[in-house]
């Protein structure tokens, strides 16, 4: 009757990474290794002003003096930083004014990803910036956005065309020396997205960046900077994939969000980097620093669906500096096979009447380890701060682990903090009930997992929610509790 667990396991193991293809694009890649010369070369290649070069060099010297962090609940072979190439750009410089000039191979890549730029453009009206390996290759809808005064371009362009904004805000939320990987990124980032929404402007469409690591032996170090000026609004989407490779690839991004008074930033991520094969070989190391700062009455909302990467280490955070500001974190993290995820958030309450909400759903299958790690800190000045946290874990099978490490530090008596966590499994009775209604076990699991994750899925913009649901299904195919 139905599947045996063995059959299901086998099926799951043989399931291949759907996005595991490699695109033949001529690319120009720097020699491996990292030293001051490489940092200078990256900066020079991009024709950067001196302040930017100096900033990078400063970050590099800080990084050299730092030690790789050891504290999170993940085990992995540390990357050899001298074995990575820090710059890889598709060789044919695409003309950013027209999609027709983009390398056709590259466009095929996006077709395979199911995100043909053209289609996106027409159907969903999403403005896209596409970063392959390290370089931004195409930004759509530029003109429409320009009319509203919205700047949406690659960070390299922003450094050239809007140096005053970049200089003012880069590193203002995440200082160069914040942590090991942030320092590394600050030294070697080669591209990323930049977005500025002027005062009072509600961005009329979702802004989106798609990241892809293509070239072998490269690391991706993109840098994203989003500035929402007073009373503005933006919803920003970020998607990630990488081809399957035997070796581990490093992705160390930095994302900084600045929400000025009364502004709102919604930042959604669907992360599907290559997770490694069923034996745990290969896969992306995803060591990301994401943080936003909220000024008076502003709001930052992080939503993430993390299904990929061999090792994920990320804590999108909010510094609630302004009075009455709001921080939100909604997360689904799925781990299967040998994946490890250590993810969560930090909500730093500084202003009065600040509020934060944390909803985290962890789903572990195979031999994976899934940890929630979060900090809620109420400073002595944060009068009437409120936090609600809920961390639920779903375990599938008996070889995986689900862990919860919340840190709650309260220094103001008027605070109200609630934290709840539960762990459960998919019940056999639930599966049988679905079976009896004609729904097979695979589909039943997808349905139950979707139900479990619903509070977070609901937070995603429509176009992403569908993709995210599909990803959840793919990531968990065949794993039964």
């Amino acid at each position: 009757m139905a599947y045996t667990e063995e059959e299901l396991k086998k099926q799951l193991e043989t399931k291949e990474y759907e996005y595991g293809f490699y695109t033949e694009i001529d690319s120009e890649t720097f020699p491996v290794g990292l030293n001051e010369e490489i940092v200078k070369a990256i900066s020079k290649k991009k024709n950067e002003p001196k302040w930017m070069t100096d900033w990078r060099l400063d970050a590099y010297s800080t990084w050299k003096s730092m030690e790789e962090p050891n504290w999170s609940n993940v085990k992995y072979e540390k990357p050899n930083f001298q074995d990575i190439s820090y710059y890889s750009a598709p060789k044919k410089k695409p003309d950013l004014k027209s999609l027709d000039d983009v390398d056709p191979e590259l466009l095929k890549t996006f077709d395979k990803l199911g995100i043909s730029i053209d289609e996106q453009k027409r159907l969903s009206g999403v403005a896209m910036d596409v970063v392959v390996d390290s370089v931004s290759v195409a930004t759509t809808f530029k003109d429409t956005l320009e009319e509203k005064g919205i700047i949406f371009c690659s960070i390299s362009e922003a450094i050239q065309n809007h140096p005053e904004l970049v200089r003012k805000y880069i590193g203002s939320v995440i200082p160069k020396k914040d942590n090991y990987y942030a320092a590394l990124n600050s030294a070697v980032f080669s591209d990323g997205s930049f977005c500025y929404i002027p005062k009072g402007v509600k961005c009329p469409m979702e802004l989106s960046t798609y990241f892809r690591i293509n070239q072998a032996g490269t690391g991706q170090f993109e840098r994203t900077l989003v500035i929402a000026d007073k009373s503005s609004y933006v919803s920003y989407l970020e998607g990630c994939t990488a081809p399957s490779r035997d070796e581990n690839q490093l992705h160390a991004a930095v994302v900084e969000l600045i929400a000025l008074d009364d502004a709102e930033i919604k930042y959604s991520t669907v992360q599907n980097w290559y997770p490694g094969d069923k034996k745990g070989k290969g896969g992306v190391y995803n060591f990301v620093t994401k943080r936003g700062i909220c000024h008076e009455r502003s709001k930052i909302s992080w939503t993430q669906v993390e299904t990929g990467s061999a090792v994920t280490w990320k804590y999108p955070s909010c510094i609630l500096k302004g009075n009455n500001s709001i921080g939100e974190f909604y997360s689904i993290a799925v781990t299967n096979n040998f994946q490890q995820a250590d993810t969560g958030t930090k909500m730093i309450h500084i202003g009065k009447n600040t509020k934060s909400t944390i909803i985290s759903k962890g789903i572990s299958a195979g031999k994976s380890q899934n940890s929630y790690r979060g900090l809620v800190q109420i400073s002595p000045f944060a009068k009437n701060a409120r936090n609600f946290s809920q961390c639920d874990s779903l375990l599938m099978g008996n070889k995986c682990g689900a862990h919860t490490f919340p840190y709650i530090e309260v220094q103001n008596k008027s605070a109200q903090i609630e934290h709840e966590a539960t762990t459960s499994k998919i019940g056999e009775d639930q599966i049988f009930y679905c079976n009896q209604r004609g729904i097979d076990t695979e589909k039943a699991i997808a349905l139950i997992v979707n139900g479990f994750s619903k509070e977070v899925l609901n937070k995603l913009p429509m176009e992403f929610a569908v993709e995210a649901q599909k990803l959840l299904e793919i990531s968990l195919e065949g794993s039964v509790g």
């Binding site: 682990g401 689900a402 862990h403 919340p406 008596k413 008027s414 499994k425």
Partner: protein, 443 residues
């Protein structure tokens, strides 16, 4: 680089030779002592860098110097200590004055059970086998403070309840510090064994008789054999010049039931390391606590329940109320091993902050490796319910009493599981006393 003054840590290491003059070097446990000293030498005192000491610093304590022994004989009479004992019930008593056993104040027995002192058990052949079987077996070697205690093992309570025996009277283990020395470091070591189907209730208290600098690094091992019941109550209401590091390690065999209640009202710095290890199925473990602090008191509850066998249950419920500049820490860890299917593990930590200078750091952790389990933790930080407070005041109850009433109500469900009525009354009056009220309802 050696500092001019010998650090206390060095003093502990150096004084061991003198300590050895005083104990039986041929006793097999002496190897445990020596090994433990070595480990302490390697590990040193924990620092804030250790994840489990993130919110509690021992620095100010261990930077000072302490005497390791009391000044000769101290004259303590029953009238001096009576008020700290539960007198209105029959009980066994094991009383220590400055770390030294006081037969005069104690009531021990060897009649069908052993309720006596460790030094006696160590010195007699007939206990050798049992001590060898149990001593230091549940204490993990990586714990530096536990190692320190082990290395200086000499005195403490020894309790053995044989199979099927259920003494009606509880045991009171009392540690008094007289202040004969300006500063003293005490390290009592308790060994408690409840054999199959037996039952025992124990009340433990550390108390200074006058203001002086005392640090107690206490270690208690509890072994609950199959189907044994152990009910352990810790009363921590010491003077504000006293600090306590309480290390309790509990090993449970199948069908056993152990509960530990910790009432923390007094003391300067208190750290409770409470660890449960499961060795069989169908085990029940209960960890409950009420913490009420003021001024600059600091209490850190560091709990571990390691579910290593299927079909076991654990319940944790800690309530904290913090005023003035006091700091409360709750660091509770539940580990569910791969084979521990059908585990039910629940943890609650609720806190109320009364003043703006008071702090709460709480870190409830779940580490789950089995899928068919029910585990949850909840934690809250908040204030007394303003609406409820208003309601009470409209009924004519003054603010202070109303607050006390609500605080009491907040903490009350922890008291429900206290099985000794006289003890419950005593705790109630300690709470009322701590809250500075004379409540007009039945406490």
């Amino acid at each position: 680089m050696k500092s001019h003054n010998m650090s206390f840590q060095e003093k502990l290491l150096d004084s061991f030779i003198a300590f050895e003059q005083d104990v039986d070097l041929l006793n097999p446990i002496h190897k445990d002592r020596k090994d433990a000293l070595k480990r302490f030498e390697e590990l040193g005192f924990p620092s804030k860098k250790d994840e489990s000491w993130k919110y509690t610093s021992l620095k100010s304590l261990v930077q000072k110097d302490y005497n390791l022994y009391a000044k000769s004989e101290t004259n303590v009479e029953l009238k001096d200590v009576k008020k700290y004992l539960l007198n209105d019930i029959d009980s066994f008593k094991i009383v220590f004055i400055d770390g030294v056993y006081s037969p005069f104040l104690s009531k021990t027995t060897h009649d069908g059970k052993d309720i006596c002192v460790l030094s006696a058990a160590l010195s007699k052949d007939k206990y050798k086998k049992r001590i060898k079987k149990y001593f230091n077996k549940v204490v993990p070697s990586a714990e530096s403070l536990a190692s320190l205690n082990t290395s200086y093992t000499k005195e403490g309570a020894y309790i053995y309840i044989p199979e099927g025996i259920c003494p009606e009277d509880p045991v009171q283990i009392m540690h008094f510090s007289t202040g004969s020395q300006n500063s003293i470091w005490l390290q009592p070591r308790n060994l408690i064994i409840a054999d199959k189907g037996s039952k025992i209730e124990i009340i433990e208290r550390h108390q200074s008789l006058k203001d002086h600098s005392v640090v107690t690094n206490s270690l208690t091992e509890i072994y609950a054999e199959r189907n044994a019941f152990v009910d352990y109550y810790k009363i921590q209401n010491d003077l504000k010049t006293s600090s306590l590091i309480d290390n309790t390690f509990i090993s449970q065999e199948r069908d056993s039931n152990v509960s530990v209640h910790t009432f923390s009202f007094g003391g300067k710095l208190t750290r409770n390391n409470l660890n449960f290890y499961h060795k069989g199925e169908n085990i029940q473990s209960t960890l409950k606590g009420i913490t009420i602090l003021e001024s600059n008191q600091h209490v850190d509850h560091n709990t571990l329940v390691n579910h290593a066998q299927p079909n076991c249950e654990s319940h944790q419920d800690y309530k904290g109320i913090f005023s003035d500049r006091s700091v409360g820490v709750f660091n509770g860890k539940i580990i569910v091993d791969k084979i521990a299917q059908k585990t039910n593990a629940f943890q609650q930590n609720n806190n109320i902050l009364i003043d703006n200078k008071s702090k709460v750091n709480t870190k409830p952790q779940l580490e789950i490796f089995a899928d068919d389990v029910k585990c949850s933790h909840g934690c809250t930080v908040g204030q007394l319910d303003k609406e409820a407070l208003f309601y009470l005041k409209t009924r004519g109850i003054p603010e202070k009493e109303a607050k006390a009433l609500l605080t009491y109500a907040f903490a009350n469900n922890v008291l429900e599981s206290v099985n000794i009525p006289n003890l419950k009354t005593r705790i109630n009056s300690l709470i009322a006393n701590k809250l500075g009220v004379n409540l007009g309802f039945d406490l």
